[in-house]
């Protein structure tokens, strides 16, 4: 068995580039791998050659599964960067295995009855290699997708204060929001009751409105409603002489901004949950 396996390994290694070229020609025109059609041929051949050379390394390695990672991870990273869909990347691997087998058959490697008998074992070996590689490539692709989503959500996740300070994020959020709303009450009273003006201090209210929507999604709108009601009530009490219109517009804007951000955050949370 070992002799036969060595014979096959030698054949694959010595002809790695030739088989890779056949595979490249196949994958670059196959219906199920359309994304490969426009890739640089050299790059495709190089991936094929790496795969066929892996066969010997895996046969010699103590832990063939770990050895397969040297190929699988690079393959997944290269093709993920080239925006090749996962199912096409997997089908390209299937074609790699098929081309290897076709080449061995074409070379008349399995002529005698004994060789045919041994071929079953050899076929199992190539299948095992493929099984490892396809599993690792799929896993890596998913890791890369999650990594890319997490990078894009990075800034928002920081603002969301997830798992902050020993997992007590929600307590700190409530505490911080209470402080913000109290400061808003004080500012409103100071500007409306003491200074008697509706000057631009209300722009500062967008800080708690936005944070509340980021932290609690749609429920965060209650902070915006609270602040809207606050300026309208305060206006009614302390600024009777001034027109109401400006503060009505401000209150509507608070609720609108809070609502839109809360809605967007629900979507982002769904994306995050999906990738987790």
């Amino acid at each position: 068995m070992q002799t036969y396996a060595t014979k096959l390994i030698d054949l694959i290694e010595s002809k790695a580039e030739g088989i890779a070229k056949q595979w490249a020609a196949d994958v670059m025109k196959h219906d199920r791998t359309p994304s490969y059609h426009s890739l640089p041929k050299d790059m495709v051949i190089e991936q094929g050659t790496d795969f066929y050379k892996l066969f010997r390394r895996m046969s010699l390695a103590e832990n063939s599964y770990e050895e397969a990672k040297t190929f699988s991870w690079k393959y997944a990273e290269d093709f993920y960067r080239k925006k090749i869909p996962l199912h096409e990347a997997i089908y390209a691997l299937i074609l790699m295995r098929r081309n290897l087998w076709l080449y061995a058959e074409f070379q008349g490697t399995f002529v005698t009855a004994l060789e045919k008998q041994q071929a079953v074992e050899s076929l199992n070996r190539t299948i095992l290699m493929f099984d490892y590689v396809s599993y690792q490539v799929t896993e890596k692709y998913q890791e890369l997708i999650i990594g890319s989503v997490e990078r894009r959500l990075g800034a928002i996740k920081t603002l969301m204060m997830k798992g902050q300070i020993g997992g007590k994020g929600s307590t700190y959020k409530i505490g911080l929001m209470t402080i913000f709303l109290l400061v808003a009450c004080v500012l409103t009273y100071y500007y409306h009751a003491i200074l008697g003006t509706g000057i631009i201090f209300t722009h500062l209210f967008y800080i708690p409105i936005i944070l509340a929507s980021i932290w609690w999604g749609k429920k965060g709108i209650f902070a915006a409603i609270f602040l809207g009601v606050l300026i309208l009530t305060s206006h009614a009490l302390f600024l009777k002489a001034l027109p109401f219109v400006d503060d009505i517009i401000r209150a509507i804007m608070f609720v609108l901004i809070g609502g839109v951000i809360g809605w967007l955050m629900e979507g982002i949370k769904k994306v995050e949950e999906m990738y987790q």
Binding site: R32, P85, L86, H87, I90, Y91, I94, R98, W101, F110, A113, K116, Q117, A119, V120, L123, N124, I127, D131, S134, Y135, T138, E139, Q142, I145, W263, L264, E266, G267, K270, V271, M274
Partner: protein, 156 residues
Amino acid sequence: MKAFTTKLVDLTQKNSETIARQWAKDVKTNAKTYTYHEASEDKIILQAKDFYSNFQMMFFHESPYEQAEEIFEKYAEERYREGTPLHEALYALILMRRHMWLYAEFQAMFNAEVEHRQAVGSLSRTILMFDYIIYVVARKFWKLMKLELLAIKNTQ
């Protein structure tokens, strides 16, 4: 060749319960199929039995690829909805194929010299069917992931 091929798939079909149980035992302890560890054994045995039954149908179909699309897109959708990661769903399929083969070997199906010769052809056919299934399942997962992202974008 046809007779031999039939023999392998018939053996699997006749003993689908036993093979499914062996597969379930494997998948529930295998480090590469972590999601299956907590799954109900009866449920996954049924899943495997259905799979082998569908596999037989596909194996003898005139257009196995079209048949794979018809049957296994649904299979992929079910795994996706259950929250099984794609690499685990694919590895579970790989183990299904492996258990088919292991059972046949255990039953000493390939003892005779002539059968050994024919086994290469039969194994190749089985692998081809699994290649189709793996491709269809991976493609369906990819589509579902894209659809979900699109739906989220639309709600925004």
